[in-house]
């Protein structure tokens, strides 16, 4: 599903050049649940941003579902993001004046799906994350866990190839984190490919594979025995 070859990325900070990714090689197959771990500054967020086409690599190849991702302009990137990717953020990033339902339906608006169909689909996904009764509430009326579940529904609604989650439990307490991870595992069990960036060991071990990043290179890439989050709930 994801192929990355010799990926480099550096940032200019004034006169200094900060080399963040120093030749990353890695691939993800369909249906995998991969955790990318590393301390802050290890380059994990940069890697995720490049995978999410929110940022562009300096050199290297990136293929997503057989499509080479290169020469991106904003419009093209927006198209790919909309078609291939679903994002889940640490800070949820829901639009605060839109209800849960409208937030979930928003990616479909940019796919030019008619309003009725949009809402039916969004409702369907809200039901899947267990928030059907909350569909007309604003984000400010939801708890953190509920907000993240709305965000997951939003990431899922466009049926993307890959879900990218950036510290998705970072703003949640551990019980809620496990609930959210339980949901992620269920979505993965349905065959969806998911990448989770985290620095929490327990969250990482709820995935099927862990990639350790340090100083811009992959230190270790291992399959792990998945711990089911439902055991903690």
């Amino acid at each position: 599903m994801i192929e990355i070859k010799d990926l480099h990325k550096s940032y200019k900070m004034g006169s200094n050049v900060l080399h963040v990714l120093k030749g990353i090689n890695f691939s993800v197959k369909e249906g995998e649940l991969v955790a990318i771990m590393g301390s802050s500054g290890s380059g994990k967020s940069t890697l995720l941003n490049i995978l999410g086409m929110l940022d562009v690599a300096d050199s290297g190849e990136y293929t997503l579902d057989g499509v080479p991702i290169k020469n991106l302009n904003e419009t093209k990137a927006a198209n790919y993001r909309n078609k291939f990717l679903g994002f889940i953020f640490q800070s949820f990033n829901l639009i605060n004046y839109k209800s849960a339902l409208e937030n979930v339906a928003l990616p479909l608006y940019y796919q030019r799906v008619p309003r009725k169909e949009r809402q039916a689909k969004a409702m369907n996904y809200l039901e899947q994350v267990g928030l059907k009764e909350w569909s007309h509430h604003l984000p400010s009326e939801l708890s953190g866990g509920q907000k993240q579940r709305v965000a997951i529904a939003r990431a899922m609604v466009a049926e993307p190839k890959v879900l990218l989650a950036d510290e998705l439990t970072g703003a949640l307490d551990s019980t809620t984190s496990y609930e959210v991870m339980d949901l992620i595992q269920k979505i993965n069990d349905q065959g969806n490919t998911i990448l989770v960036v985290t620095h929490e060991d327990d969250i990482a071990h709820m995935c099927k594979r862990i990639v350790y990043l340090k100083d811009g290179v992959i230190m270790k890439d291992e399959k792990v025995k998945q711990i089911k989050a439902s055991a903690y709930v």
Binding site: G52, T75, A78, N79, R81, L94, I95, R112
Partner: protein, 414 residues
Amino acid sequence: MFDLERWQEIFDTIRKNKLRTFLTGLSVASGIFILVILLGFGQGMQNGIANEFEQDAATSVWVWPGVTSKEFKGLNPGRSIQLKNENYESSLALFGDEVEYKSPRVFVRNVQVNYGKEALVYGIQGVSYDFQFIENAKMSEGRFLNYQDVVSTAKVAIIGNKIKHDVFNDVETPLGEFINISGVLFKIVGIFSEREDREEERIYIPVTAAQQVFNGGDRINNMSYTMPVTENFDEAVVQAVAFKENLQAHLQKAHTVAPDDTGAIHVWSALEEAKRYYSLTGNIKFFFWFVGICTIIAGVVGVSNIMLIVVKERTREIGIRKALGAKPWSIVGMILHESIFVTAISGFAGLIFSMGLLEIVGPYIEVDYILNPSVNFNVAISTVLVLIFAGAVAGFFPAWRAASIHTIEALKDE
């Protein structure tokens, strides 16, 4: 523009951000409102001045004597000038071709006027038959003086409308009634109306009667003329000024007055004055435009400011939308669409409200020099369009910048 989905999205946004929308709209509407009211009063002022000025014939030239202030050819200063019939006649002989209407005027003083037992305290003026046109008097009943009256020294009088209302309430019409002026009976043959009450408090009698009956000799108090109306205003002014200067020079010579002694014989040309008035109203109009344009600029700056804040406030939302697959242009389009919609609606609301106010209140405004303030509809419409355009331009740059901010940066924006 005709994308229904986009409209729905925008109405959603507007409905859920009422305060923001209201404030944007208010600044636009008040800008337009102030501009239209200002322009309206500028126009009102121009109307008012034009109206004040239209009381006498627009091309009239008036002559009245004064006192010399300079020694000339052995004559002392401080000498009063007295116009005579011969001055009037010689002026006609010299410049008769240049004028359209002309009339001498004699103020009849120290007389008693009675109607029956009632004493009338109104000015009596001996004039010629042309004077009606010089004063722009409208005959409401009967006739004005005619040639025959003047030549035959007829004992006839023309009274103002106000005198009719003040004195002749008991009779059906004052026409045919007689007034007694120091023992001489004058028959009322006409009633005139003027724009101002003050000018209706006059009784006109033939100039010949005024001189012969009331011991006036050949003295006259002033002379008045009108110039023929020409198409070109500037040309008319040039003619009037030339006539005025020639006439003044002629009279100064006839009365042995120094050529530079302008106070001895006054010659006043309405056209010349009109030019001054017109340039004054032009200046006033310019001033109102200036203030109005400053208001518009303030409005544009206000709208820009609000757009800047709105876009700033929505940076994170823009980031989210981009992460979800919104193209940069669709974001710029959405923000512009919303801002143009809001400025257009509120701009036209301000326009309709202010024009309505002018339309309803305008005709009731009775202040000197302001008459019927109104505004040119096209001008008002174009200012609204300018404001909408300015709002769009002002909204475009921050929107474009926000749409081109790196999505990650936009998402970090708090």
